[in-house]
Amino acid sequence: MKVSIPTPLRQYTAKQATVEVSANTVGEMLDKLTGRYPELRKQLFAENGKLRRFVNVYVNDEDIRYLENGNTPLKETDTVSIVPSVAGGSVAVNSPLATTLSNDEVLRYSRHLIMPEVGMTGQQKLKAARVLCIGAGGLGSPLALYLAAAGVGTLGLVDFDVVDFTNLQRQIIHTVEDVGRPKLDSAAEKLEAINPFVNVRKFETKLTSANALDLFRDFDIIADGTDNFPTRYLVNDACVLSGKPNVYASIFRFEGQASVFATKDGPCYRCLYPEPPPPGLVPSCAEGGVLGILPGLLGVIQATEVIKLILGSGESLIGRLLLVDALGMRFRELKLRKNRDCPMCGANPTIHELIDYQEFCGIRGEEAPVTASVPEIQPAELKARLDNGDNVFILDVREPHEYQICNLGGYLIPLGDLPARMNELDSSREIVAHCRSGVRSAKAVTLLRQAGFGKVRNLAGGILAWGEKVDPTVPKY
């Protein structure tokens, strides 16, 4: 039967406006069509395999949505037309005029609508709201999921990372099948599955001083779910400069913090932390670990604060730092006030544009890794020496609980205890120090060399590299 191809798609069908296909159903026809013209597939279908919502398919004069969708039967004399929708409007989606709720939405949000504190007006405010979530990871997962479920009209997501296996312990928007995929694609799919009424906008980019202000322009509220200090300062400053509130949360091991920064009369992040900590002092989740549920708890607190700002109800965390101790299950608060002398948001601000945040946090871009200046031995060479029966002493400077995960049979002195226990080591022997990835053991080697140990070297890449290059049975962690 004839398949009529609309103008915008003819570049993918060798310029043909009509294509002949033989098929018994619409689904079969589309398979054959995209088989013949593979570039058409991405234009017609979303990643979840469904037709993009603006693609209409007509069999003669009937929309397949009112027939049997992909199973709609076809006869040779039928004409199938692919017709992208034509629509538009004179005001942006966030205008109050644009937020009437359809019957489907009224039913979906009924549990909101029956509460006078939300009601139709509140739900319409949610629909009109545009929230930008920085990060689709630990905090971003619960944050975005709940904002989508609540009916926030436009959700922007900023993340350039790819889903890693170790993320699944806490980044609940991603699943096993998403490992290796960009986090944005994985996240957007789940959000659309929960609530197709949400306009999910993806920004697969690193947030930088060059793009932050432009990105923030189209949104009303920014939710910071990032995992590093330079970006936290960047988000804060860009929020103050753009006049948008910054709903903030952070997590570390078993504790978290949450607040709302960058409002006109309230404090900003710099009022609380005028200076970043020295680089390397505060470990990342990969270095220090984090209880999986913790970002869940804090992310939903963030979502709650976003929604309260939109609705204009309740008592916001503006001017309050919420401190969460998950192990003790205690919630404390610190009062925060705008620092009158704050260079960013005070009475006489001195910062009027975004700066180099890597530099501000003391991270020199292409800094030589601390391991490079220390004498090293590669895993393969160590293995060869051990197999040869050489008298090499292996010093493990990790923590006892790490030793339980996996070990090379080394002598365990955690790095923190090394200065006090150096006398347990024989400086006449050849020593190879190792840790998980080679960073701590490099420090150990430096310490030992300074103390006069001449024959000590660092196992390059630590036990992770050993597992990769010498013994694959050693588990990675």
């Binding site: 009529s4 037309s81 992208p84 005029l97 306009n199």
Partner: protein, 147 residues
């Protein structure tokens, strides 16, 4: 990049917006594209606005009408080269909604600003897509040549 249109057709397009004011009008531009960036509008087809829930600031053309219009145009060796709609009491510039809902790359989107019932400015925008990136599309200003 330019859109050629006869004076009569151009006035029909603008008058449609005056007639439907304060609601948005919408319709299809039928004609030919020369393959080098110039489209010639041979005729306009008025369409109904399906957005009866919000017609003063939203429009939606029934896909069924698009199917019919395309079929009839092809019968005359012509094609759909674009669409037009009006912005009641609003500038003749594309909005975020216009861009979000635009999917006919290569086609012209013509907008007429109708202030207090009178058509003022009419502008045209060509929908462009960055090759290979299906998420990014944008409107490029297009010259209208009324002849």
């Amino acid at each position: 990049m330019a859109l050629k249109i006869s004076k009569g057709t151009w006035e029909q397009l603008r008058r449609h917006g005056e007639e439907t004011y304060p609601d948005e009008c919408c319709g299809v531009l039928v004609g030919e594209a020369d393959g080098e960036g110039v489209k010639s509008v041979k005729g306009v087809v008025r369409c109904g606005n399906l957005r009866s829930d919000s017609p003063h600031d939203r429009y939606l053309i029934d896909p069924r009408e698009l199917v019919r219009i395309q079929r009839e145009a092809r019968g005359r060796a012509q094609d759909i080269v674009g669409f037009y709609h009006s912005h009641p009491d609003h500038p003749a510039r594309w909005s975020q909604t216009d861009l979000a809902e635009a999917h006919w790359t290569g086609c012209s989107y013509v907008i007429t600003s109708v202030i207090n019932g009178k058509a003022t400015e009419t502008t045209s925008f060509n929908l462009m897509a960055n090759p290979g990136e299906d998420e990014t599309k944008y409107f490029e200003d297009e010259e209208i040549r009324v002849e």
